[in-house]
Symmetry: C2
Subunit: 530 residues, 2 copies
């Protein structure tokens, strides 16, 4: 049996555009003589549609689109993800054959954890049905239904010979190993049934769908895998056991995820150019590099905004980086403007020592300049803070946190270094100057400031944050891993104390199993100190 995997990149809410994309894939696969084509979960609407689902017109339009698609299925059978309305709403897959819908298979297990809210909108399936296509018994599963017992076992029981899985499974570092080993291989082996797994690709706000679709045989062996972060139509012949090989390491995956996340955020919102404040530090350097790779060097503007605390090296390093990248760079010194604030505040601040207030004024002046260019020319400001800083609040609200997209907000500082080294190595030259990589991290908001004045070493901080945020360990559990009690307590206190900043943070690209944002819902008013 010849099956086409349509690893497509829909745009949320663009039902017309997504439908055209689906129809053109169907034609193409049909022309090539495929028996079946399978699309991702909710391919017609895009995923996750969030509260658009509560808009009746949106649901009606997506069902009308299915009718359009139906008419285009000549010889091929198409399996298309959509939202069905039938005794409530369902996350569903339509199987179309002979220009008719011959099965609607609803999703049984509705994820309602982390970034997922499917129980907010949908009712679960009550059954799973097997259907015959060209003499073969086919079962359909939707995403979470392959991660949990029930639907696949039921399909096997009912005689299914292959299971086709539609998914919209967002990427995080290490997830492909879980999908391959814990989900697909185990379930295929358990039920002695082969599975095709078609995953969405593309960026949607904070989420990045990685594609990386699969064919696993009934022994649980991986026969085919599609590339990650690339849209495409891929073909599987279930009679062939010839294995493909697709290798990619974690750092490269994260790099590709960020590129796609930036690119799709711009493309799908009709944004054209990005502007990045360059401090001379490694975070803004990596951000501008990613932007240039994602959007093209002529679509990215760097801006240095030196203050009296900026080292000469910081500006020179930024100029060199811009030159290496081939992007244009602007300079607006903030010294005069800062003086004007200091002077305006002199009565109010009389007799007070300089402190974080003056530091933040500078960060906010920079934010204001970046936003002024954004408002005047339509540039989107990319904010540059990494996950470690954002976790402990080492960032200024309305200052360096200003921006439409927080590119590195889920990248711990130690991973920032890994990505930087990966990038220079891939390019075969030090596009990001070594002086930037080797510089001791500093906000340069007061004389001789260093991050290590206020924070634990990043090597330690990132390990604690990984246990606390990603792995969900409590204080005692972290300490029992061998970390210093005082440091652990300080870090946890800082994370808790900065929920209010993150509440107002820009959208950030999720690349770990637990990002700040919609998947981590913390109260601001909270006296729990455990």
């Amino acid at each position: 049996m010849k099956i086409a995997i349509a690893q497509v990149n829909p745009t949320l809410g663009d039902i017309k555009g997504n439908t055209l994309k689906i129809i053109s894939s169907i034609k193409s696969a049909d022309d090539k003589g495929n028996d079946i084509i399978i699309f991702p979960e909710m391919a017609i609407t895009g995923y996750p549609p969030k509260d658009l689902v509560l808009d009746d017109g949106f649901i009606i339009k997506n069902i009308q689109a299915l009718d359009e698609i139906k008419k285009q299925c000549r010889n091929i059978t198409a399996v298309v993800g959509f939202i069905d309305k039938n005794d409530g709403l369902h996350n569903s897959a339509a199987v179309i054959s002979g220009k008719e819908i011959i099965l609607k298979q609803n999703k049984t297990h509705l994820p309602n954890y982390d970034v997922f809210d499917e129980k907010r909108y949908f009712k679960p399936a009550e059954d799973s049905e097997v259907i015959e296509v060209k003499g073969k018994k086919i079962g359909i599963a939707i995403c979470e239904d392959t991660w949990n017992d029930g639907p696949c076992e039921l399909l096997k029981e009912k005689g299914a010979e292959i299971i086709l899985t539609l998914t919209a499974s967002p990427y995080f570092k290490g997830k492909e190993k879980i999908r391959e080993e814990e989900v697909l291989s185990k379930r295929c082996k358990k039920n002695k049934i082969p599975m095709i797994y078609c995953n969405m690709v593309g960026g949607q706000d904070d989420l990045i769908f990685d594609g990386h679709s699969y064919y696993f045989n009934s022994k649980g062996e991986k026969i085919f895998e599609a590339p990650s972060f690339e849209e495409g139509l891929f073909y599987v012949d279930t009679n062939s056991e010839e294995k493909t090989n697709y290798e990619i390491n974690d750092t490269e995956q994260v790099y590709k995820a960020l590129i796609l996340g930036i690119r799709d955020y711009f493309r799908k919102n009709n944004f054209e150019k990005a502007i990045v404040g360059l401090s001379g530090g490694i975070d803004s350097a990596l951000t501008v590099v990613l932007a240039a790779e994602a959007l093209g060097k002529d679509k990215v503007i760097g801006m240095t905004m030196p203050s009296k605390y900026s080292s000469k090296g910081s500006v020179d390093d930024s100029l060199l980086l811009a030159k290496n990248l081939g992007i244009s760079i602007k300079t607006i010194p903030i010294k005069e403007t800062f003086s004007s604030y200091v002077s305006a505040l002199s009565d109010e601040f009389k007799g007070r020592k300089e402190d974080v207030a003056e530091e933040n004024v500078q960060a906010r002046i920079r934010g204001n300049f970046l936003m002024a260019l954004s408002n005047k020319f339509g540039y989107i400001v990319l904010s540059t803070g990494n996950k470690s800083e954002i976790a402990v609040g080492y960032c200024t609200l309305y200052g360096d946190m200003s921006g439409g997209l927080a590119v590195l907000s889920d990248i711990p500082k130690t991973m920032v270094y890994d990505l930087t080294k990966y990038y220079n190595k891939m390019k075969g030259k030090d596009i990001i100057p070594l002086s930037i990589i080797k510089k001791e991290p500093s906000a340069e908001l007061r004389p001789d400031q260093k991050d290590s004045d206020s924070l634990p070493e990043y090597e330690i901080l990132d390990q604690i944050l990984d246990l606390y945020i990603e792995k969900g360990y409590g204080k005692d559990a972290i300490i029992s891993e061998g970390f210093d009690k005082i440091i652990v307590e300080k870090v946890i206190r800082m994370v808790k104390a900065n929920e209010y900043k993150r509440y107002q943070a820009a959208l950030g690209l999720k690349v770990t199993s637990k990002a700040f944002g919609s998947g981590r819902r913390m109260p601001i008013t909270n006296r729990w100190t455990g």
Copy 2:
């Protein structure tokens, strides 16, 4: 039977403090010879605990607290809301009698819409049990279980003679009518059973619990209602049918909600003073008035930041308002600082007309000054934008949107006028000067600017927004209510185009059935135009 309703105001995560409050209420009610005392849903933890629920230590601590409470129940039976861990987590109520837990009643219907995410954390109850207290058969229901069929009917079937309901039901305008008529009266009448309804009181981030607890008899008549927005211990004798009378209109309710919301946000976060930028307009006037009433006039600072576009009236009106209120007021003109930006940007902006970029620079300078005082002195900035403006994006990100709490973000402009008039009337004098109330709305960011240059009249705008956001009407349905097609389309387009601003907005106090924030989850990247 004598039943005490403990309409308490817990602090989220302060398990120790909440436990002490519960124990002291139990003692007090016991001393007064009550048979039963009932607390709100999740009184031990506070509500909603969000992802704190995923922290094992938090759950353990709340169960230990129940053990402490148990020991304090001498003669009285206590019904206490907590989180149980038993084959998964449950939103549960413990019935304590003779220092033992004699029943744990879990919640059946888990709300998972608007601001509620209970299916993210909890498993539903499988049964509802009746228990005998002093010869009377008692049933327990938790919040949503009285809004939906099932649990109460089951309790009646099993012989319950009264149902005690624990709730954490956040306020919105008009909700008490729904609770009384659609929920309590109907369900009591249907099952011919009396109900006690004990609701939480207090502010928790965006949510304001209004208390307003009830006793309804088996004929569905309201016998007793506790005041709204006030903590207290109230007593009901189920043998008495003497009716209390508690009357309060919608505007007064909203006013009290906002006061409690501000007060608790400050108190529970250990914040002391608030600062409000006063533009001379009605929104900032109402905001500073509410702050002064909530926190005390010595805890609130007003600040005027006139620009070259500010009318003389604007500053004078703000000074008069501050004088009427008895709060201190500061003035920092932004003219010089704005000039410094204009000069720094002159190369970049050469040949370009002045536009929204320059307007926003001014708003952001004001944000920066407010935040500078916030950072230096620990004041919390209250932002002043109303719901109508925030809906259509007539506000500046990092400018007037800066702040820790957006007091009016769920108050439509027309309701701002109602509240202002209500306040002056209540005070018996024009604390808010008539010149502020009568002034035509203007952002004063360019010469002779008026809101009506860019927006429909607020009377029209607010009606369209009410239909679109609160009532969830689609475009066509709104037009068929008699509104102009072009205006409706423009308004909807503006609402959609400004999701990115609201994504970074400060926490706002929810007082309508659909506020921006956690109860309205919209994608930013979204091509759905319907």
